[in-house]
């Protein structure tokens, strides 16, 4: 039998006071695989990741984590299970240093009682090692202010942080949307590297080329419905992927 799925949605629907954002969506994700979620504006991608990360509750349907049914009542609960989310804005504090961002709300401390202080040398060392493990080759200064770093480096910090703090499954919200060609390549490499280290990934993207570069499974959403779902190799044509949703929608 194949490996057990990591996070699974079964017939999940979500409606917002009349608007049907998701209808009957089923998705399986696996450790060490990238599941790409594609769809036009308003297709329901953001709503889907919100249900996966505990931000909103599905109106109906089930969520399974490692084979067990779960209810994700809050983002914190999802995080504790091992579901990490990196939003497009990466969620870093621009005026703070790399190390301080990396350990935000998880600061390592040393000393006792009122003399307890952040263990800066540990924070610096660990954060830099974790970022280096993402394949960032530039010599990063743990003291550098994050706002001055490139888009790819910011994604690297955010992903490294999520993985370091126990994410087995990582939701990436359009990580390449605001990036140029070179930076996008850096991010694609980051995703490849993270997947090879055994993390399951849900990659939301508008860009079929980026999806095909790293994706193992693909789901295309249109108006809240799954209109296409396939594994790598089941389709060869980029055009298929790009046209998939639209053609089906038009056929209706």
């Amino acid at each position: 039998m194949a490996q057990q799925p990591l996070l699974t949605l079964k017939s999940v629907s979500k409606s917002y006071s009349g608007v049907q954002a998701l209808s009957d969506v089923s998705i399986e994700t696996f450790a060490g695989e990238v599941h790409c979620l594609l769809g036009d504006n308003g297709a329901g991608k953001s709503t889907l990741i919100k249900t996966m990360s505990g931000v909103v509750h599905p109106t109906s349907g089930d969520i399974m984590w490692e084979g067990q049914p779960v209810t994700l009542d809050s983002p914190k609960e999802a995080q504790e299970l091992g579901i990490g989310t990196v939003h497009q804005d990466v969620g870093l504090i621009p005026m703070m240093s790399v190390a301080r961002n990396f350990f935000l709300a998880n600061e390592p401390t040393r000393g006792w009682g009122p003399f307890k202080r952040i263990d800066m040398s540990q924070a610096n060392g660990v954060s830099i090692d974790a970022i280096r493990a993402m394949g960032i080759s530039r010599d990063i200064d743990p003291d550098q202010v994050v706002g001055t770093m490139s888009g790819g480096e910011k994604q690297a910090i955010a992903i490294a942080r999520a993985v370091h703090f126990g994410a087995k499954f990582l939701i990436l919200g359009e990580p390449t949307a605001a990036l140029g060609v070179h930076e996008s390549e850096v991010v694609i490499n980051l995703i490849e590297r993270t997947k090879q280290r055994g993390t399951g990934i849900l990659l939301i993207t508008h860009n079929p080329t980026h999806a095909l570069a790293v994706g193992d499974r693909f789901t295309v959403l249109t108006q809240g419905r799954v209109v296409d779902q396939f594994k790598r190799g089941e389709r060869d044509q980029i055009m298929d992927l790009m046209a998939g949703g639209r053609r089906l929608a038009a056929a209706e």
Binding site: I93, L104, A105, E107, I118, D139, D143, K154, L179
Partner: protein, 352 residues
């Protein structure tokens, strides 16, 4: 100054790989060391008055005590105000808390005949309550703290004045024979008040909290990007609450201290602190929009404020110019702080 060294050691903790960047003072350096600009400005302002008023008394013990005393009283409140601003909030209610605390101490001792310790305790408790009230209003209503705390300032000032008149028939009340408190809060050496020591202690504590503790990290994060901080798990409500209470207690402390120094409680005293503290923090390199600043910078900003307000007197020029001077400095500081911030928001390569 004792804790310029403190700041430096805090820094050298993690300057290992970055030591090579130390030589040129670039924007990057300014981003990592938010106090450099303010420290340079303080040295400049001091040199300016040493030159123009050095021969007329600015450099004497009296002149030095003058600006240090001014800076100390302002500084004890400006420090938590600066931390609040780094966390992205304002507090314009400190003025009324100073006045209320000062009259509370006088009423307790002179009117009710109770021990001074009880008066100070009640004043500090009032500071805690006002802080909690501010935090609650700001956090629950999500109305900008600028306006919410301005409302608090009026509420507390009006209440203090009305109650003072109701109880004692006046807005001021003398305060004598304060015993041990006289030494703890009003002792003087060479015209320098003990408040300077309280100021240094307050600064050392705040510098420690901001640079070295997780809570300090949360202050920066809360002001730098509230949403991201919340998502990362920073307890925003706790940060807001602690900082407002810290500010309220500090303002009450200064109110009680000045009442003992001047032998008088005054319900309407202290309104000057409302803007002076925020100005000192901004001149000290604190970003108005939050997320950036340092305690040493705030201390330098306060020193600048003290030197200008006292130094002008020694030049013999009309002291009316003091506000003009400070206003101009404020504009320069705001522009400089923004430039540093904008540089930090811009990726060196790539878009994002």
């Amino acid at each position: 100054m004792a804790f310029s060294a403190n700041q430096k050691t805090g820094q050298s903790d993690h300057s290992g790989p970055s030591a090579k960047h130390l030589a040129p003072m670039t924007l990057t350096t300014l981003q990592k060391q938010p106090w450099i600009g303010a420290a340079a400005a303080a040295v400049f302002v001091f040199a300016f008055f040493a030159y123009f008023a050095g021969s007329t008394g600015f450099l004497t013990a009296g002149g030095t005590a003058g600006w240090l005393n001014t800076a100390a009283e302002l500084g004890i409140i400006a420090i938590p105000i600066g931390l609040l601003m780094i966390s992205g909030e304002f507090d314009l209610s400190t003025g009324s808390v100073v006045g209320a605390a000062s009259i509370i101490v006088a009423v307790t001792v002179t009117f009710l005949g109770q021990p001074i310790a009880l008066g100070i305790l009640i004043a500090l408790a009032m500071g805690v309550l006002v802080g909690l009230f501010n935090a609650l209003l700001v956090y629950r209503t999500r109305v900008p703290s600028f306006i919410v705390t301005l409302a608090t300032n009026f509420i507390v000032a009006g209440t203090a004045l009305a109650l003072s008149r109701l109880v004692t028939g006046s807005s001021t009340l003398s305060l004598r024979d304060t015993g041990w408190a006289e030494f703890a809060f009003a002792a003087r050496w060479n015209q320098m008040y003990i408040s300077i020591i309280w100021w240094v202690l307050a600064a050392a504590l705040a510098a420690w909290v901001l640079r070295a503790t997780p809570f300090g990290n949360w202050i920066y994060a809360t002001g730098g990007n509230k949403d991201a901080a919340r998502r990362a798990g920073v307890p925003i409500w706790w940060v807001t609450q602690v900082l407002y209470v810290w500010t309220g207690v500090s303002a009450a402390f200064v109110g009680a201290m000045t009442a003992i120094q001047f032998n008088q409680g005054n319900a309407v005293a202290g309104q000057g602190y409302v803007f002076e503290t925020a100005i000192a923090a901004v001149i000290g390199g604190v970003l108005l929009t939050g997320g950036f600043g340092s305690v040493f910078g705030i201390v330098c900003g306060t020193i600048i404020y003290g030197i200008i307000s006292v130094g002008l007197f020694y030049t013999g020029w009309p002291t009316d110019w003091a506000q003009t001077f400070i206003g101009a400095l404020l504009v320069i500081a705001v522009l400089a702080n923004n430039a540093i911030r904008n540089a930090a928001m811009q990726s060196k390569k790539g878009k994002s």
